[in-house]
C-alpha cells in the first residue's frame, strides 16, 4: 500500500455516492447488467432454480420474427422472496406465462436482472429483484471532494 502520484493533498476525500449501502445488495449489478437497457419480456416459464445467492428462472419468449428466444433471468435469493410473498413451487411454476421487467445482460445475450414479474394466471405483480445500479455505485462516479 502506498500513495499514488495522482492524489496530492492529503485533504482529498472520496465520496462513494450511494455505494455505502450498496455493498450488501447485488454483488456487482453493473458488471453483468446494463442499467441503461430496460427490458420487458413476456414468455412461458420453462425452469426455475430456487437457489442462493440468487434465483434464476428461464423463459421461452417469441422474438420479433417469430423465433423462440430462450431467456435467463436472475432474481433475489429465496429467503428475500419468501418474505415479500413468493412461495416456492406455488407462485411461479413451469408453464406459467409471465411478463418480466428488468435490465439486459451487458453482452446482449437473452439474459437479464429481473425487477418485477407479472403473472398472467392471476394478474399478480411481485417484485423479484433489486433496482438497477445496486452494486454499481449508482450511475454517478465517486466524487472527489475536499474534506
Amino acid at each position: 500500500m502506498s500513495n499514488t502520484g495522482n492524489w496530492k493533498p492529503a485533504v482529498l476525500t472520496i465520496a462513494v455516492l450511494g455505494a455505502a449501502s450498496a455493498a450488501w445488495a447485488h454483488h456487482s449489478f453493473g458488471a453483468e447488467y446494463d442499467a441503461s437497457k430496460s427490458i420487458t419480456v413476456t414468455g412461458v416459464v420453462t425452469e426455475i432454480q430456487w437457489t442462493n445467492p440468487h434465483i434464476y428462472f428461464f423463459l421461452d419468449a417469441k422474438g420479433k420474427s417469430g423465433q423462440v428466444e430462450h431467456w435467463k433471468f436472475e432474481g433475489y435469493p429465496p429467503g428475500v422472496l419468501n418474505r415479500i410473498g413468493w412461495r416456492r413451487n406455488v407462485t411461479m411454476v413451469p408453464g406459467d406465462t409471465v411478463t418480466v421487467t428488468g435490465w439486459r445482460a451487458r453482452d446482449g445475450a437473452y439474459g437479464g436482472q429481473s425487477r418485477e414479474v407479472t403473472f398472467a394466471k392471476d394478474g399478480r405483480k411481485l417484485q423479484s429483484g433489486p433496482p438497477a445500479g445496486n452494486g454499481d455505485g449508482g450511475n454517478r462516479p465517486p466524487a472527489i471532494a475536499k474534506d
Partner: protein, 264 residues
Amino acid sequence: MPRYLDTVLTLAAIFALASCQRAVSRNQPADRNGVPRTADGKPDFTGVWQPGSDRPGTWEEANQGNGVPDPGTGSRARKAEPIPYQPWAAAKVLESYNRRYVDNPVARCIPQLDLGGGALYPNQFVQTPKAIVILIESRHVYRLIPLDEKHPDDLDPSYLGDSVGHWEGDTLVVDVTGFKEQMAGSEIHSDQWHIVERLTRVDYNTIDYQATLEDPKALTRPWHVTSKYMLRPGTRLQEHVCEENNQDPTSFAVMMKKGLVTRK
C-alpha cells in the same frame, strides 16, 4: 423408605428446581418506553430485527409499497458521511468502481458486517447475561459478543473481526477488531480497522445504532454511521448458503473477457 416416597421426593425436588429456575430467569416488566428488560435489568434485545429500516410492524407491513428497501438508493434509516479515505485508498476505491466492483469479495460469498445496513436480510439477537449472539441470515454467519471480556491476545484476522461488548447504562457497546484487510469493492479497509458500535433499544420497536470506524492506515479521521434496527415479529431466519449456486464469478469473467466491464 417406601418406593413411592422416593418418587414423591424426587418430583418435589424437580418442581422446586423448576420454580427456582423460573424465578431466576423471569424477565422484568417493560420499562415506561416499552423496552423489555431481562432478569438482570438490562434492556432485552432478544428478537428478529431488520437493519436499515425505520418502519415498525411485521416484515410485510413495513416493507409494503416498495417490497423491500432499495439498497442502491440508500436505505431510509442508515446515514453515513462520505468515507474520509486517505488518497491512496480513495484511488483504490475509484479503481474498483471503474471495474464495476467485479473484485468485491461479497461476489465470492465472503461475509461482511452489515454496519446498520443490509436491509434485505434479518438478524436475530440472542441475549444472555454473559454474551449476546447475533445470527445473521445473509451468508448464514453469526457474531458472538462476549460481555465484559477482553479481545484474545492471539487474534487471527477474520472477515467479521472479533467482538467484545459491555453495557454503558442501557447502551450495549461493542468493540470490534482483528479484521482481515479488504482492498477491493465499494468500501475498503486495512487490517487496522477498528469499530465501536453503540446499540440502544429506545422503544419496543427500535434499536438505535451508531458506529465509529477508525483505520489509521486507510482513513484520515474516524468515520461515523447511524442507523436503526426495527423489530420484526413473526419473521424467521432462513438458510442462505451463498456457495450453493453462485454464478457471479463465472459471469463476471465472461463479461471481462468480452471487454464489457471496465469503464472507459
